[in-house]
Structure formats: C-alpha cells, structure tokens
C-alpha cells in the first residue's frame, strides 16, 4: 500500500522542473493517456461502465545524450487500482546508428506492442488484438534488460534495428522477470524494421525472441518466437497485419514440441472532407494453441474474432469509438460484444527550472507548445 502511494505522484505528473536540453540541463516532459468504457457483452465478464487504464508517460532529458523514459499505469480492479511501472529505462544516444539503454521496456517483438500498448487514444480500435492482450501470456509484452538500437539510413530506405538481452518471462509467464531471472537463462530479442521515407508511415519488419520459460520447478520450456508485420499508419487507408509463430520445446518432461500461431489484420479508413472526423475500421484475428502445449494450454488462449467499429475524433486529442465484436474462445460458443470507449491524451507539458537564455523558446519541447517572441 505504501509502495502504491509512493507511485501516485508519478501518475499525477505534477508540475515538473525543466530547462533546455540544448544547454545540458535537465528537462522533464509529461503526457498521460486515459479512457472510459461502456460494455454490453454475452461474455461472462463484468458489463457496464469501466474506467480504463490511466498511463502517465514521463521523459527526463538528463543531458544532450542521456534520457530517462518512464511510464506508470493505474489499472482499476475490484480492490482499487493496481499500479505498475510499465517502462523505466535510461538511454544513451551515441548517434543514429547506436543507442544503448537499460531498464524495462515494451518488448520489441510485436508492432502493436511497441506502437500503441497503453496509449488507447493512439490505436484505432477500443482494445488490442488478442495476441498482444495484456495478461494473456501469449507474448512476452515486457522485457527487463539491456537494448541496443539504431537506424541505418541509406536512401531510399531506412532500417531500424533492436538487439537486446534480458530476464525473459517470470514464473508467471504473463509477467516480465522484474525481480530477477526465473531460471538463470537469459532471453534475447532482435528485431528489424524497414521504412521508406518517400512513403511516410509505411513499415515492415520482423523479430526473433528466444527464452527458457520456467513456470514451475518441474517444468522448463525453450521458447522461440518469430513475428512479422506490415503496417501503413497513414489513415487512407490504415493497414496493420501481424503474425507470430511460437515454438515450445519442453526440456524435462516427455511432451511434444508444439507450435502456436497468432495473427490479425486491421483495416481502417479516414473519411474525406466534412466526414474527416470519422474512421470506420474492421479487424479479423485468430490465435491457435495446440492442446499439448505445456506452457499455453492451461491458459486457454485459443481465440477467433471479428470486429467492426467507428472511431470519431471529437477533438485533436480525444476520440469516441463504437465497436461491435464477435468472438470465439476455447469453446464453440460465439460471444457478441458492443463496446463504447472515450479515449484521450492530455496535452504534454514541460516547464523551465530557470529562464532559458534569450532567445530560446519558453516552452520548447513539444509540437503542442509554441515558442513566442519575448
């Protein structure tokens, strides 16, 4: 409880002290995402109004090359709010080719996982695809360790890479090994994403992840995940297609090697002219886990879903989404759900701890700020 209270000020992101990065003095920027949901569903889950996840994102620019990234979330549950340090890492930007960091990340193993994650307003739909659903355990969504990243730009292409090593999954495989490696076997991840500057927003890439998961003292499973994605973030149309293939090789029991597959395809289109605020979208998704999978089968991860919705941008940073879903899980029963969501992001802010030397901007750090003539 005391720990939770200590973390609350992070979420509140109360006025912070900053100064200009160009002068090698610290800067802190804050942004928050939140959402409110209303759900009617045939599924055996709670209906009605639900406060979504509140995510506070802070960036501390410690020097021209050193930056601290943090993200803390508050998720409502029956007992109150559960507070989580989603991301916390310190990064040294040597150059475009090499950036080194250490801490807790969104694992660069899936497009959606790094692109949207807790930013509900950023994503078109009300929720994530099931393959990257929080707490599902299918993909290791968070990662504690070290990461090397960089961009190799050779016109007309750009290649962004990430290579990392860390603790991998905890004994609860839906969680990262925040308090240490569960089995002494480090996880490694490598990803590469190709972009074309002349086609802004278009990217395609893949990743490989290897770990040994040990959910109990008697079970140890070697895990290999290969994933691919193609994404066009521009909205006329928006296209996101992702696929993950997961191989599990049990080590100390006589169980077969199993292969699980998960994929989704989402299509959205921002309407033209006066209907510009409206963006209809559809998504199809499917997760298939073999019954013999020693790691996944108990989690009942099979899913098949089709959804359609309409996103209405009420303001530059607020959206209303209306979505209809039809889903099947581990049984032949198909559940229908109607979901409404109000999602928004608070404008970011930053302040100078001391007046930056004239003529530097008064609020220099974001597109939402304007540097005025003094």
């Amino acid at each position: 409880m005391r720990r939770k209270l200590r973390l609350i000020p992070w979420l509140a992101a109360i006025p912070v002290w900053t100064a200009s990065a160009q002068h090698d003095t610290p800067t802190l920027q804050a942004r928050a995402f939140a959402d409110l949901n209303y759900t009617l569903t045939q599924r055996p889950v709670a209906e009605g109004f639900r406060l979504g996840q509140i995510a506070g994102h802070l960036i501390g620019i410690l020097s021209d090359r050193l930056t601290l990234f943090t993200e803390v979330s508050a998720t409502p549950n029956a007992a109150g709010f559960s507070i989580e340090a989603e991301r916390l890492f310190l990064r040294y930007d040597h150059c475009d080719l090499l950036r080194l960091s250490a801490g807790r990340y969104h694992t660069p193993i899936s497009y959606w996982n790094t692109a949207f994650h807790h930013g509900q307003w950023l994503q078109t739909s009300t929720g994530r695809p099931d393959m990257v659903r929080g707490g599902s355990g299918l993909m290791p969504l968070h990662f504690v360790g070290v990461l090397a990243e960089g961009t190799i730009a050779r016109a007309p292409l750009g290649l962004r890479y990430s290579v990392g090593a860390g603790n991998g999954r905890a004994a609860n495989i839906a969680r990262a090994g925040d308090a240490g490696d569960a089995n002494g076997s480090r996880a490694v991840v490598a990803s590469a994403v190709l972009s074309i500057p002349s086609e802004v927003g278009l990217s395609m890439g893949g990743s490989v992840y290897a770990d040994r998961a040990s959910p109990s003292a008697t079970l140890s499973v070697d895990e290999r995940i290969v994933s691919f994605h193609v994404a066009r973030e521009r909205e006329t149309p928006e296209v996101i297609v992702e696929y993950a293939h997961i191989k599990h090789s049990p080590r100390n029991i006589a169980s077969p090697v199993t292969y699980s597959n998960a994929a989704y395809a989402q299509l959205g289109y921002r309407l033209p002219g006066r209907a510009h605020a409206f963006k209809p979208y559809v998504r199809a998704e499917r997760t298939r886990v073999p019954a013999q999978d020693t790691l996944f089968a108990p989690l009942r991860l099979n899913q098949e879903g089709l959804l359609g919705g309409l996103r209405v941008d009420l303001a530059p940073t607020a959206a209303l989404k209306i979505e209809y879903r039809s889903e099947k899980f581990d049984t032949p029963l198909r559940y229908k759900t109607l979901a409404l969501q109000l999602s928004f992001t608070f404008p970011s802010f930053s302040q100078a701890s001391k007046a930056p030397p004239d003529p530097s901007p008064s609020s220099p750090n974001d597109v939402s700020h304007t540097a005025h003539r003094h």
């Binding site: 930007d93 790094t114 950023l122 500057p197 802004v200 521009r234 003529p359 530097s360 974001d366 597109v367």
Partner: protein, 168 residues
C-alpha cells in the same frame, strides 16, 4: 428548330466556358514562393537530398554527421512555411502531424518533438543561436546569420527547387 436550339445551347455553353476556363487558369498563376532550409552555421552539412531532409524532419535522423543533435523548429499553424513543410516533407495534414509526434514520443523513438515558433524572425534567431538547429523559412527572409542548405543540389529560386509553393 429543336436541333438548332440544342446546337445554340451547346455553343452558348461552350463560349460561356471559355472565359470561365481562362479565369480559372489565370487564378492559378501567381508568384512562386520559395522556402529556404536554414541551419546553424556550424552544421557540417551543405547539401541534402529531399529524402534526407524528410528523414531529418520526421525524426528518423536525429544527429548531424558532425555529431550535434538535430533541433527542429517548425512554424505554428497558418504560416506558409509550415504548409510547405507539412505538405512536401511530412506529407501530412495538421491532425496527422500532431498524432505522428505524439506517437513518436510515446514510442520513445525521439526524446522531444519539434519546437514550434511563432514567427520567421524567431525561427531564424533560434537557428542562428542553437547548434544543430534547422528550420524552413521564406527565402527572402534569409540573412547572413544562418546557413542555407542546398536541397537536391539546388538553392531557393533555382529551377526545380523542391520547397516552393504558388501564392494566389
């Protein structure tokens, strides 16, 4: 009678459209505004391709070859410089531009987004002062305090210079 009336009607429409068409054409004829890409005088780069420039403004290239960090200045909404930057470099409208930088910052791809300036004079003063700074301003506002980059080996007002727009 009926046929001649139709012919007369078509001819009338045709002749009526000539001045309209000419007027429309004349409406597109206007002065061409050229925009200069200015950088801090210490910047080691003198010539960039439009693809490189796009990468810099998109935050894909965050360091100059000399090692200094790129500092982006962009005019506030409503200015000609911003319109050219959004249309020809970002290929985005205002909403897409805002969302792009919110997403890019959220993904930790960049430490900070562009700094928004309220006037050409301020953009020029900041660019002249801050190492690594880059901005796009009207070419006729350039003076000796800043360095002008060639884009695809061309300076403003040269043929086929890419950062230009037609004012009406």
């Amino acid at each position: 009678m009926k046929r001649s009336a139709i012919v007369a009607f078509v001819l009338a429409m045709f002749t009526a459209r000539i001045p309209f068409a000419a007027g429309a054409k004349a409406g597109h004829e206007g002065a061409i505004d050229h925009f200069a890409v200015i950088v801090h005088p210490s910047t080691s780069v003198g010539d960039v391709s439009i693809a490189q420039l796009r990468r810099v403004f998109l935050g894909e290239q965050q360091f100059w070859p000399g090692g200094s960090r790129v500092v982006l200045f962009i005019h506030e909404p409503g200015s000609g410089s911003r319109s050219v930057v959004l249309r020809q470099l970002y290929q985005m409208n205002e909403g897409e531009f805002r969302r792009y930088w919110i997403a890019k910052t959220f993904r930790d791809d960049v430490t900070t987004g562009p700094k928004i300036v309220s006037s050409t004079a301020l953009a020029k003063r900041l660019t002249a002062t801050i190492p690594g700074a880059i901005a796009v301003i009207p070419a006729d506002a350039v003076d000796g305090t800043v360095k002008v980059l060639r884009v695809d080996s061309r300076l403003p007002r040269e043929d086929a210079y890419p950062l230009a727009s037609t004012s009406r």
